[in-house]
Amino acid sequence: MLPLAYLAVRSFERGGGVVWDVLARTRTAELALRSLSLAVAVTAACLVLGVLSAWLVVRSDLPGRRVFGVLLVLPLAVPSYVAGFTWISVAPDLTGFAGAFVVLTLVSYPYVLLPVAAALRTADPAVEEVARSLGRTGRQVFFSVTLRQIRPAALAGGLLVALYVLSDFGAVSLMRYEAFTLGIYTSYRATFDRTPAAVLGLVLVVLAIALTVGERRARGVVAHRGRRQPLTVSLGRARMPALAGAVSLILLTLGVPVVSLVWWLVEGTSTFSVTDVLATTGNTVAVSAFGALLTLLLALPVGILAARHQGRLVRGVELAGFAGHALPGITVGLALVFFGIRFAPALYQTMPMLAFAYAVLFLPLAVGAVRTGVAHAPPVLEEVSRSLGHGRFTTGLRVTVPLAAPGILAGTALVFLTCAKELPATLLLRPTGMDTLATELWTRTEVAAYAAAAPYAAVLLVVAAIPAVLLDRFLGGER
């Protein structure tokens, strides 16, 4: 929170007049309008794609729906700038709004698919059966009952998409769509007067928070849990079109990146040096490991508290989880730049500073993981162990740690991989001369050196695919 508060201080340092000037510029309104219209369009598209695909995977008799269940979630793992790179390198004309829209929709619809699929799995099938027995047709039941059951999940997913789009830097910068984040970056790079950048960063945070609050209001009551397997609906004649739709979605989301990457890799073998890629990968691993460890250290006490104590703190942590998604990397990066220059010049553009930025960005993710992990070791088990003659220490060693560790480790791994993919904060805060996979890819794509960028994109794609597989296994375990 501290860096953000400082961002606010920095914005108003030169008086409210300057802030007002920046806000009143037509450019600011333009940027906001561009970001918001992109967010609305992408969210709408994702809601349709996400709900349809979730329904197909969970409730229909689509052939091979288990495989589709995994493949349709995978795009979540593709960083938007990697997707942006692969699209722009095969279709250089696809830029601006259309390009950003296509890329962001294709990488973020799983944010809707995942919660909706989970809601469909846990919704009580008896409710639908009752509706049928009261004379509604299958189609009517879908609109009057099923959609209502999944509404909270769909809205939550939609919120994540909207926040993702608002804070996305990679795709919009590669697609040269002047959205808010890109505006901030340009303004920061272009002039020595950094107040406008700070003000714009704040506006972005306000937009994100407003979205979060609005979604909480609109969400409504969460559906009850059913104990039975969800009902399966026969697709009938719609089976083949549905299958074709699912296949083409996967071709667009996964096929394009992979094919494009392979093509550039084969095409441009001579233009990159393996040592460079390895050195960059090393950098990425080092800084991400540092960031993940720091995040874990900060998350442990909060997560344990949240898991063991009910009430206000837990709600706070849940809200912070959303706030975490709402904090754009560019704003956190910017806040730390200002904060670093002023208070810790020795740390500015060093690894610890970057690691700290990661910690600020991904703390909610790590807290969630710690909380889930610790929840696997409920206090009653510790009490049983104590009553069997083991002290606090032995109990921790023999009961709490073995039960909580897998979840916490998986969470840390997730943070590590998320750090490795992070672009905007890394761009702003990385030590001079140190490149990570993400920044190399971005720099090279900026100058249209697609062949040179391809190997970095390939490594990133592999790094990124790992948490998606993890995520699916975790969700699978809860079924």
């Binding site: 696997h376 409920p378 009653v380 088990l381 009490e383 049983v384 162990s385 104590r386 009553s387 069997l388 003659g389 083991h390 002290g391 023999r398 009961v399 073995p402 039960l403």
Partner: protein, 333 residues
């Protein structure tokens, strides 16, 4: 092993105490049930005894040793069987049972206990592969393994089906007796408490309403509240005078004097040739017995518990008489 004594125990969470001057004792090898509705302080009592919750005042003695606040849970020699078992999910059944044992004779003792709870050969299974009843047996074996001074069971049967519950109740009693263990079981189910224990403490609003044998609790409840809590009842308002009280069922023998409540158990209402006339409203068949809902001349409805073959049907006119004396609880002025 030896008995557990609780003297004037007070405990709470700040504000009004949850346990107020609780007194009882469990003799060595005895089985005590603590019976009370939810929120009466049962769970707090268990947590205090096990050392997970501080005592405000009062004493807990186990086997001639006082368990003060300085004695941590691991040194109390008190085993616990939590609700739904709470087996360690990462350990096998044998690992669970052996958790509180030293390495030396662990394997032999684990075998012995699994045999005792009827699960010999289950040692290699994981908790996830057990049924609810089996998990409870393992949890009991785990608690008994280190030969604790007393075992605390927290609503051990509440998550089970009715049939299984009865079977497991008998098994648990047999197991505890076979192990010579002193045990304390808390429950909100009066049938369970009366059926399993040697002695029963009825806990109400954190205070002991009655501490007696099950038969005594049922036949001579300390007050109307206990009487209504431990079983079905038929009640009338009435005025007792020289051992008699007048009710819609006629003059009944009773004790006490003055205005108050007359209480009969449904099994005391006998349908037969003699007695006051009444109409059968409905018959609720339970299998082993049945409840007959009777409408008396003045319009009040009473319940009669009938064993064996049921010969009446709704709409019949019957006569009903009362077997044995009625309980009488004078109004508190």
């Amino acid at each position: 092993m030896s008995g557990l004594t609780v003297k004037r125990l007070v405990a709470g969470y700040g504000g009004d105490p949850v346990l107020r001057e609780v007194d009882f004792e469990v003799p060595e090898g005895g089985l005590l049930a603590v019976l009370g509705p939810s929120g009466c302080g049962k769970t707090t009592l268990l947590r205090v005894l096990a050392g997970f919750h501080p005592v405000s005042s009062g004493e807990v003695w186990l086997g001639g040793k006082q368990l003060t606040a300085e004695v941590p849970p691991e040194q109390r020699g008190i085993g616990i069987v939590p609700q739904e078992g709470a087996l360690f999910p990462h350990l096998t059944v044998a690992g669970n049972v052996g958790f509180g044992l030293r390495r030396g004779d662990r394997a032999a003792r684990v075998e012995e206990l699994l045999e005792l709870v009827g699960l010999a050969g289950f040692g290699a299974r994981m908790p996830g592969e057990l049924s609810g009843g089996q998990a409870q047996r393992v949890a009991l074996a785990r608690a008994l393994a280190p030969r604790p001074g007393v075992v605390l069971l927290d609503e051990p049967f509440s998550a089970l089906d009715a049939g299984l519950r009865e079977e497991l109740r008998a098994d648990v009693r047999a197991t505890l007796k076979a192990a010579g263990a002193t045990a304390l079981l808390v429950t909100h189910d009066q049938e369970e408490a009366l059926g399993i224990a040697d002695h029963v403490v009825v806990l109400r609003d954190g205070a002991v309403a009655q501490f007696a044998r099950p038969q005594t609790i049922y036949a001579s409840p300390a007050d109307l509240g206990v009487a209504l809590f431990v079983g079905e009842a038929v009640t009338f308002a009435g005025v007792a005078r020289s051992g008699l009280v007048s009710t819609p069922l006629g003059e009944l023998r009773t004790s006490g004097d003055g205005p108050g409540t007359v209480l009969l158990r449904p099994e005391q209402l006998i349908i037969g040739a003699a007695g006051v006339p009444s109409a059968v409203d409905d018959v609720l068949f339970h299998g082993h017995d049945a409840t007959v809902l009777l409408r008396l001349a003045d319009g009040t409805q009473v319940r009669s518990r009938v064993q064996g073959k049921i010969s009446v049907r709704a709409g019949d006119s019957v006569s009903v008489s009362v077997d044995g004396p009625a309980l009488f609880f004078g109004d508190t002025p």
